[in-house]
């Protein structure tokens, strides 16, 4: 029998176009997503060299970072943002790429619309000039972020020059308790392995807790793999994966579908496959998680307190002190005492329909606390439409949430949605770096339910209080 292989090995081996003696490989790229920020120079490079896009139908372009999330009909005020978006539209047209403009119902955050359209499929290689491309690994596809030169390389050749990554497995045991979600699970993992824990590896998430997650939840987990230092996350495809994809616009149909499912079913890692690194975690007893600092590894249970920098060793102690100073927090204070100003619900981490259902379930029949601005930004036009069909927007509007148009929004504050200096935000996004949501802004990463609970309380709060 041949050597047992991991899911990663199988995808890698089936994409090698050419292997050089020095170990460098040319690998084929099945899917390429493009947004307006990291692509203009790549297209310009093609033009200057007189090159075409090799397989335009394997690329999908959409503006997301710079688009306004309100009054879209009024266009984009900021000139540089507007030019970046217009440039993408022109490039898509000139090079014949499928493109969803900001008035298209299918427009949304690249990592939300890929799966939604059935563009993302198991066993594929998927890239985008964006680090959160890792999201698509939830389907059992090898998905990772690339730089602008590589974007151009993919457009021109549909390949990339790469060396294989190492295999790492994170085994997640136990069943998540009520009120504890995929977001809490991935925050707990990053808290455990650290932001460099996955460096040089592709992380495969396995175990009962992962199998139990919906596809939405699996996307949330893979999305933040990059915050754990790995370029890509992977979850083996199963019946849930196939059920999610079946009938999606760009997914295979009929005979092709049957063949695809038969192949996808061979992808899960073989018993006895070798992993360079293995980590185990039991989530049966974890409370909801929240970040207190300016690195995604600065994680604590909501039932806990702000840690003391002295509880860390080496360079991390200084970093923790710097984080607390920036965040305006004191060691020892209960996290549920931390007052907030804003709430941001959305992003490619938590901007899907299931996330909005979670928020509505908590918000129903309550009111957003005085003085709190709580934004809800659906991940795509289709997510927004679905939510409205289910009447979720009514529940949210009634409770005092701000219901907006799809895009990246305050996940990185490249459009008009920003925190002011020292404003504090409970956010469902993925990065709490200094200034990420606006200069001087303070970010606490939480699950959608936790963000909703914070909006109602006006402080960081334990969502489980609202679920009794």
């Amino acid at each position: 029998m041949s050597q047992p292989k991991t899911l990663f090995d199988k995808i890698w081996d089936s994409h090698v176009v050419d292997r050089q003696d020095d170990g460098n490989c040319l690998i084929y790229i099945d899917r390429h997503l493009v947004h307006e920020v990291t692509s203009p120079q790549a297209f310009e490079g093609l033009r200057n060299a007189g090159r075409a896009v090799r397989r335009p139908e394997l690329t999908l372009a959409v503006p997301d970072h710079n688009v306004p999330t309100e009054n879209r009909a009024g266009g984009i005020d900021d000139e540089e943002s507007r030019i970046q978006v217009e440039t993408l539209a022109k490039n898509a047209k000139d090079f014949g790429l499928p493109y969803f403009d900001m008035f298209d119902i299918r427009q949304g955050i690249v990592h939300i619309i890929g799966p939604e359209q059935g563009f993302t499929l198991p066993g594929m290689t998927i890239v985008c000039g964006d680090s959160h491309t890792a999201t698509h690994g939830a389907f059992g596809s090898l998905a990772f972020g690339i730089g602008t030169s590589e974007v151009e390389h993919v457009l021109a050749t549909q390949t990339l020059q790469q060396r294989p990554a190492k295999n790492m497995r994170v085994m997640v045991k136990g069943a998540l308790p009520a009120g504890v979600t995929a977001k809490d699970l991935i925050l707990a993992i990053i808290g455990k392995i650290g932001t460099a824990g996955g460096t040089g590896h592709v992380i495969e998430f396995a175990g009962q807790a992962i199998r139990d997650l919906s596809m939405e939840g699996r996307m949330t987990v893979c999305n933040m793999t990059i915050e754990g230092g790995a370029r890509a996350g992977l979850i083996a495809p199963d019946q849930k994966t196939f059920d999610y994809l079946k009938g999606r616009t760009m997914a295979p149909k009929g005979d092709a579908w049957e063949k695809a499912v038969a192949y996808w079913s061979t992808l899960p890692s073989d018993d006895g496959a070798f992993y360079d690194k293995e980590v185990e975690l039991d989530v049966a007893d974890i409370p909801p998680q929240v970040t207190w600092g300016t690195s995604p590894e600065d994680v604590a249970p909501i039932t806990g307190t702000v840690p003391s920098p002295d509880s860390f060793a080496g360079g991390k102690r200084e970093a923790a002190q710097r984080s607390l100073d920036y965040m305006g927090l004191k060691a020892g204070m209960p996290l549920t005492d931390v007052k907030i100003d804003k709430v941001f619900i959305g992003s490619c981490t938590n901007g899907r329909i299931e996330d909005l259902r979670e928020v509505a379930a908590v918000a129903k029949g309550h009111k957003v606390a005085d003085g709190i601005h709580a934004m809800v930004v659906p991940g795509s036009g289709l997510v927004k439409e679905q939510a409205e069909k289910e009447g979720l927007h009514k529940i949210l509007l009634e409770a005092g949430f701000d219901w907006r148009e799809p895009g990246c929004s305050m996940c990185l504050a490249m459009n008009a949605d920003k925190l002011k200096p020292q404003e504090r935000c409970a956010s469902t996004s993925n990065r709490n770096f200094e200034g990420r949501q606006g200069r001087g802004g303070r970010t606490h990463l939480v699950s959608p339910g936790m963000a909703a609970a914070a909006a109602l309380k006006g402080t960081l709060a334990d969502v489980r209080e609202y679920l009794k």
Binding site: V17, R54, L58, L121, A156
Partner: protein, 206 residues
């Protein structure tokens, strides 16, 4: 990528160590949608006054150095961030070769991706070239990559080292994309085989 074979041109002296990528192209120009057009902002803060007028004493604002195609600079050129905008700006201005005692790693790499030849020479040699570059109209250098020599204004030849693979790429104007395109046959073959075994890879139209 433009091939780099032999270059004859004016060499501008920049007797400064640690010229970083922020000096080469300040961050306010990174929001551009283009790779070209950055030449006018090359060394922006050293080159222009606040009102946008030129600083008369900056070397690239003086004749004949406005037309320089070679820079002779101090140690650790190109340190700082990884921005590919730095070589983009140099190239757009017309600089195709930088001679210095040492370069920052990432910048050094980025140069080769953009048709620029970075040449490392011992500090004394660079100092001697710096003086010769200071001679105005007579600061004409020739850089011959094939023979791996710099010919200074006095006709003195100085040889330099360069990685053979990178030399091959520069001489032939091969960027990564160019190289990959040489494997076009393998890509065609892969695609044809894949269309048989995994026909679903081609998506149904959106």
């Amino acid at each position: 990528m433009k091939p780099f074979k032999e270059l004859t041109g004016i060499a501008a002296p920049m007797d400064l160590i640690n010229i970083d990528t922020d000096m080469i192209i300040p961050k306010q120009f990174l929001k551009t949608i283009q790779r070209s057009g950055l030449g006018k902002n090359l060394f922006d803060e050293m080159r222009y006054n606040d009102d946008g007028s030129e600083k008369a004493d900056f070397v690239l604002n003086r004749e004949p150095y406005r037309h320089a195609s070679i820079l002779v600079a101090g140690d650790n050129f190109g340190c700082g961030s990884s921005r590919e905008h730095a070589p983009w700006a140099l190239e757009d201005f017309g600089i195709r070769c930088v001679i210095a005692p040492s370069f920052a790693d990432i910048f050094h790499n980025n140069c080769f991706k953009n048709g620029i030849l970075p040449i490392r020479l011992p500090e004394e040699t660079v100092n001697a070239l710096m003086e010769k570059a200071d001679r105005g109209q007579n600061a004409m250098f020739t850089v011959d990559l094939e023979r791996q020599v710099v010919v200074d204004p006095d006709g003195v030849e100085i040889s330099f080292e360069v990685d053979p693979f990178r030399k091959h790429c520069l001489l032939n104007g091969l960027d990564d994309i160019g190289l990959t395109l040489q494997k076009g046959g393998a890509i065609d073959g892969y695609e044809a085989a894949r269309a048989e075994t995994a026909p679903w890879v081609t998506p149904d139209a959106a």
